[in-house]
């Protein structure tokens, strides 16, 4: 019986192939926009994360801390979670680096080395968000022997705020696109339904139940969703590969990235079912 309904639905779709292709195409555009929005949101998150870890931190050490103490501190920091590696920079090394950068003549007048010793900290990527970086910096600053901790506070925070706002805007955009898709679908199904009003009257006279009459329309909605989901998935796949090929940038998503396309088809099918449910719910048989 299910196969009979599927066949009925398919024939109905095929009968008005031209106009239905148009619908599939516009739905596919909508679904692609949703997919691209979602991927952009996660892409920005990935970017912020990588950027944050690239910043690293510098802990400035107290003046007069003996080399032994500096080294002990370095070893201690290297065991902190969230820190990938550390590098001890003595006051002399720092001065040498400065000379290298500015030229020896510039620093000729200096009598004593004004630079403090420091530990450069490289953060491990992966477990980095702004809150944790901040918390780590605060903890390090409180340790004996550390005077000050510096990192790209301002930038990291701004980026995080931007990413959050982008995420909100993206969710709003995705949601309204989704509603738009359901709206188009439910209208399409409604039109199909009214176009077949005569047929439905006949079915009722022959003893068809509401379920029998509605089933092909639900399936048609799912067909629409799957077809446009397929087109959108293809588009998204190409776009995604182009981005990673061009920028070598792989977006981190909560799902395995290669599931993105099947997921789009699934979302299409679910939206299709929702659309026809709404359409049929409004129609009195």
């Amino acid at each position: 019986m299910f196969i009979y309904h599927v066949r009925t639905a398919w024939l109905s779709l095929a009968r008005n192939a031209g106009i239905n292709l148009l619908t599939v195409f516009s739905l596919a555009v909508g679904l692609s926009l949703v997919a691209i929005t979602v991927l952009s949101v996660f892409g920005l998150h990935t970017a912020v994360k990588e950027w944050t870890s690239g910043f690293g931190m510098v802990a400035y050490l107290a003046e007069g801390l003996p080399t032994k103490g500096q080294e002990a501190l370095r070893d201690r920091l290297s065991r902190e979670p969230g820190i990938r590696s550390v590098e001890l920079v003595s006051a002399e090394d720092a001065l040498r680096e400065l000379e290298g950068a500015l030229g020896k003549e510039m620093l000729q007048g200096l009598e004593a080395n004004p630079l403090p010793a420091s530990i450069r900290i490289f953060l491990s990527p992966g477990n980095l968000d702004v809150a944790r970086v901040k918390e780590l910096a605060g903890r390090l600053a409180g340790m004996d022997g550390i005077v000050e901790v510096e990192y790209g506070q301002k930038w990291v925070e701004r980026m995080a705020v931007a990413a959050r706002q982008f995420g909100l805007a993206g969710s709003a955009l995705g949601l309204s696109l989704g509603i738009g898709i359901i709206f188009i679908l439910s209208n399409t199904i409604k039109i199909l339904f009214y176009r077949r009003a005569q047929e439905i009257d006949i079915l009722k006279l022959l003893g068809a139940t509401q379920g029998f009459i509605r089933a092909p329309f639900l399936i048609e909605g799912v067909f629409f969703g799957i077809l446009s989901g397929g087109v959108a998935a293809l588009g998204t796949f190409l776009a995604r590969n182009w981005v990673s090929g061009k920028f070598g940038f792989v977006i981190e998503t909560p799902w395995p990235l290669q599931f993105t396309e099947p997921l789009i088809v699934l979302v299409g099918a679910v939206l299709g079912l929702a659309g026809s449910f709404i359409a049929l719910g409004r129609i009195r048989l």
């Binding site: 006949i202 079915l203 006279l205 068809a208």
Partner: protein
């Protein structure tokens, strides 16, 4: 099998059916006649619950239509085969698909459905038109498709509304033969018609309607 008890149906204040009572037994074939507008179609529509009586009581195949809720209507209709005056065929489906619809609606599966369609089309003499589309058939052929669709589900009651209207006498006779076959197999049949040739000498009971009333 069909029982009307003082049934009245009013359209905009005009009584299309006025206090009609009658009873048709299981296995009986009967005729309903009367001039145009006398209420024949309306009476049949009351039987398969396309119209609801304003007054009186109707019982069809054991269903009391006054107590029928809307979800039961499809199941009543599966017990009532109807040959519609205006055919109600689906023009874009083949003869086979049109006839098969009755069975599909009842959830009867592929193999059995196919077999029954073939034998029913043979019964009405349309085996060779199985894959044709209704608009390409003659009036008499379309009429027989409608009959095939009405009888294929073995309904408890078969109603026919002017089944030989606009047909030549030979074709009309062929169609009556189909009804007689169904009747000989125990079918309960009510045929509405203007055509005296159908019911004269038939030996069947004849109900005569005039302005919505049954004449004695």
């Amino acid at each position: 099998m069909i029982a009307f008890d003082t049934v009245t149906k009013t359209y905009d204040g005009n009584k299309a059916i006025a206090g009609v009572s009658f009873e048709i037994q299981k296995g009986e074939m009967a005729f309903l006649t009367g001039p145009s507008g006398s209420g024949k179609t309306t009476l049949l529509r009351l039987v398969y619950r396309e119209e609801v009586a304003d007054q009186g009581r109707i019982v069809v195949a054991g269903w009391d239509l006054n107590k029928l809720d809307s979800t039961s209507i499809p199941f009543l209709r599966r017990n009532v085969g109807v040959v519609f005056q205006d055919f109600k065929l689906l023009p874009d489906r083949t003869v086979r698909d049109n006839v098969e619809l009755t069975l599909r609606i009842q959830g009867i599966a592929d193999d059995e459905a196919r077999e029954r369609v073939t034998s029913t089309l043979r019964l009405v003499g349309l085996r060779h038109k199985t894959d044709a589309y209704p608009p390409h058939l003659s009036g008499g052929e379309q009429q027989r498709v409608v009959i095939a669709r009405a009888i294929i589900g073995n309904p408890a009651v078969l109603l026919a509304d002017e089944p030989t209207g606009n047909l030549d006498p030979d074709t009309a006779k062929g169609i009556m033969d189909v009804f007689r076959t169904v009747h000989s197999r125990g079918g309960t049949i009510l045929i509405a018609t203007h055509d005296p040739n159908l019911y004269e000498h038939s030996g069947c009971r004849i109900f005569r309607l005039q302005e919505g009333k049954l004449l004695a």
